[in-house]
């Protein structure tokens, strides 16, 4: 075995091996075109090595000429693939230059087969034997130079210019190491190969054909570059793994579960914590049906709606609080937040987010609501106490009328004959008065019943009329007219009638106290509803009292703040809580002329219908 055979064969097989590896990588990852181009260049180099070997061992000019001819096929593959590789790998280089290089090289390949024996020589007339690595090898002796050779040479020089230009672009972009290594090595080895070829052909320089050695140089440097790239990817993967562990640790410490949902494949992934929250088994495949199965039946529609909305709108964010019902475990409240990720075309491809157990917060919210409800009830009962005299009056009216009617009926019955028309009228009146008394009692019962706030669509006028009925007697006794204006075109509101009555009663009674306390000569309370478009209704309670001292404006809504000798100081604070629970605001201001105005807002019905 000769050294020449050993070196060239090993070089070829090394190139083939590198090429195969990269081709396999490309096979698994089809968009990694750089790997395919590198693989083709490596295969071209391996082929060049074999044709070189054939030249070195050629026994006649005819053999030598045939080897040169085939070597151009291998060169073509190498050069075209290399140019493509530079373009893809450096993401730089002029496209027209790239196509010119490929075109000229292809033209030279045609010339290789159509003009003379090969593109370098029209005819090889003799070969020389020279010593190389301790043995005698063949090299060009004599031949007729083919003018088409210029084209092949030109393509090589243009390739050089293309690579230099691409490297400069990459260098300017900041990727200096890559530009230096890829551009530098290609220029160095191509200059070597081109120079050698030129010297042999034009200068009759006695040197064995070793183009493949230069090409292999390029391939090995590129392989080094690609390997270090792979190394970096491994490093990134390791760092990613570490950071994933950190995130996992942090999320476990914070009690946050993580999840992703692959929209295309309709399957999900959940971290261990999220699996625990949802009651999923460790290896369980998370499908859409399985996920919906974990959601409390009452919340399923709401969850579906939120997910659909996040995908169909530009918002992309999703946030929903719902109940999960793990198999065989108690129901828990969770908060899911996430974001939809889209591809370049804007199609949603992935949802990613976190899951948080909020059962404890929900429990305390419910407890808070219960306590607020109790306070509201207490406040309502105490207000009833203030209204007691007036309400007794309200009840006495129909009861007194019933008594008088019954007595009149007794007297009419003594007449002979009894006036039946009169008796019928009496019975009808008794019935009507009974109804009136019942309504008074119903209004009271509604106010005294302990209940939570349950908003539903409601005409505001009805609430205002009830308040007017409850305060009518008190207003008459104190000689303070209460004017009610339900407003024109005020839409239905979302509210709880009893609780809104409580707020209005509280404001009206306060207004009466203010007018009475200051012995104001002007005595008038106006309750007005107003709708100025949008999704809210304004309600105003104005009085002609002395107004609120500016220093107290910020304090009156504080719990236990009172200016009345007998007041508990919870009325306004409870009222504000009730209005805020309705999604509105309650505030006070002094009027320009006389008295104060309390205003609150309520959402209209539309808002909830959305």
């Amino acid at each position: 075995m000769s050294w020449v055979t050993i070196i060239f064969s090993m070089m070829a097989s090394a190139c083939l091996m590198l090429g195969l590896i990269c081709a396999l990588i490309w096979w698994r990852q089809r968009d990694a075109w750089a790997y395919l181009l590198f693989a083709l260049a490596a295969i071209g180099t391996a082929a060049t090595a074999f044709t070189d070997l054939a030249m070195l061992h050629a026994e006649s000019p005819v053999h030598f000429s045939a080897a040169v001819r085939w070597s151009f096929c291998a060169n073509w593959l190498m050069i075209v693939a290399l140019a493509g590789f530079v373009r893809v790998y450096l993401r730089a280089g002029r496209t027209w230059l790239l196509w010119t290089v490929c075109g000229l090289r292809t033209v030279s390949l045609f010339a290789n087969f159509l003009t003379g024996e090969n593109v370098n020589y029209r005819e090889i007339t003799g070969i020389n034997q020279i010593p190389f690595l301790g043995e005698s090898v063949s090299t060009i002796g004599e031949g007729v130079v083919n003018p088409w050779m210029i084209v092949a040479q030109l393509s090589l020089w243009l390739l050089l210019i293309f690579v230099v230009d691409a490297s400069i672009t990459a260098w300017r972009r900041g990727e200096r190491r890559m530009a230096m290594l890829v551009g530098g090595s290609i220029v160095f080895f191509l200059l070597g190969a081109t120079g050698q070829a030129a010297l042999i052909v034009w200068g009759h320089f006695q040197w064995p054909p070793t183009t493949s050695l230069f090409y292999a140089g390029i391939i090995f440097v590129m392989a080094y570059e690609i390997a270090s790239e792979t190394l970096r990817a491994t490093q990134l993967a390791r760092e990613l793994h570490t950071s994933e562990q950190k995130v996992e640790l942090a999320s476990a410490a914070a009690g946050v579960g993580m999840w992703t949902w692959d929209i295309g494949n309709r399957e999900g992934w959940a971290s261990a914590k999220a699996q625990g929250l949802l009651g999923l088994r460790n290896s369980e495949h998370l499908t859409e049906a399985r996920f919906m199965d974990t959601v409390h039946p009452d919340d399923r529609d709401a969850v579906k709606l939120v997910i659909e909305r996040s995908m169909t709108t530009d918002h992309n964010e999703l946030e929903v609080e719902y109940r999960v019902q793990p198999r065989g475990a108690e129901t828990r409240w969770v908060s899911a937040r996430g974001r939809v990720e889209r591809n370049a075309a804007g199609t949603p491809i992935l949802m990613r987010g976190v899951l948080l157990d909020i059962s404890a917060r929900r429990r305390s919210e419910i407890e808070l609501q219960r306590l607020q409800g109790q306070l509201a009830h207490t406040s309502r009962v105490s207000m009833m106490g203030e209204l007691a005299t007036a309400i007794a009056h309200e009840l006495h009216q129909p009861l007194g009328a019933i008594l008088r009617n019954a007595e009149a009926a007794e007297l009419f019955l003594e007449h002979e004959p009894p006036n039946l028309d009169e008796l019928r009228a009496i019975l009808a009146d008794i019935r009507a008065d009974d109804q009136r008394a019942r309504e008074v009692i119903e209004r009271l019962r509604a106010l005294l019943k302990r209940r939570s706030i349950e908003p539903h669509a409601l005409p505001l006028g009805e609430v205002l009329m009830n308040v007017a009925a409850l305060t009518r007697a008190d207003a008459a006794a104190r000689c303070i007219p209460v004017e009610i204006d339900s407003g024109l075109g005020v839409p239905q509101i979302m509210g709880d009638g009893v609780h809104l009555q409580q707020v209005l009663l509280n404001l009206v009674l306060n207004a009466m106290d203010a007018i009475d306390g200051a012995k104001s000569r002007q005595r008038l309370i106006t309750v007005r509803a107003e709708y100025r478009g949008g999704r809210q209704v304004d309600v105003m309670v104005s009085d002609t009292g002395p107004g609120i001292p500016p220093g107290d404006l910020g304090l009156i809504f504080e719990p236990f703040f009172t200016t009345k000798a007998s007041g508990m100081g919870i009325g306004l604070s409870v009222s504000r809580t009730i209005i805020e629970a309705h999604g509105g605001r309650l505030w006070a201001q002094n009027n320009a002329t006389v008295g104060a105005t309390f205003r609150f807002t309520l959402p209209t019905e539309d808002k909830a219908a959305l």
Partner: protein, 214 residues
Amino acid sequence: MSEPRPVISIVDDDVSFLAALSRLLRAAGHTVQAFSSAQQFLAQMTDAPGCVIVDLRMEGLSGLDLQAAIAEQAHACPVIFLSAAADIATTVHAMRHGAEDFLTKDAAKEDLLEAIERALARDALQRTQRFRQQQLRDRFAALTAREYEVLQHVVRGQLNKQIAADLGITERTVKLHRTALTTKLRVRSVAELTRLVQEAHIPEHFSSTLPKGQ
């Protein structure tokens, strides 16, 4: 003296109670007029005999306001207050200002009817007294200024001689005036004259209100 039948006016802004009470009183044999506000009552008020039943709490003019307005009239009629629920202070105020009675709306029928009877009786009495006083005042109004001066001296118990000296006239002229005034007032003795003056509540300065005669 032939008075028309007494009329019972009811003033209450609660129309349902107003109708029921009117019906009861009519059934009990009374003549009834119903008013749903104090203003309405005042606009239609006459000096016919009767009494008025007033609700204490009403929108607009209250029961107490109405009581004050009635008291200003020359022919004030008795006022009975009815109330759904009343406090002591209001009751005392009403009674002090001459309310005939103060009843709750669910008071026993008998109490109510008795109160009405009492009020009507008082109204009749007050009317008789007012009628008699008016008659007396008419008699006194027939006196001349000089006769009235003489009358005042007589009532003080002065003799004719003293009166003549005080007024700067002769004793005989005094006698003539005395005869004229006893005839006009239809009295026979000084004692009867004194009683008549007291009964008619003739004020000291009464003379200044009389037309100047002779």
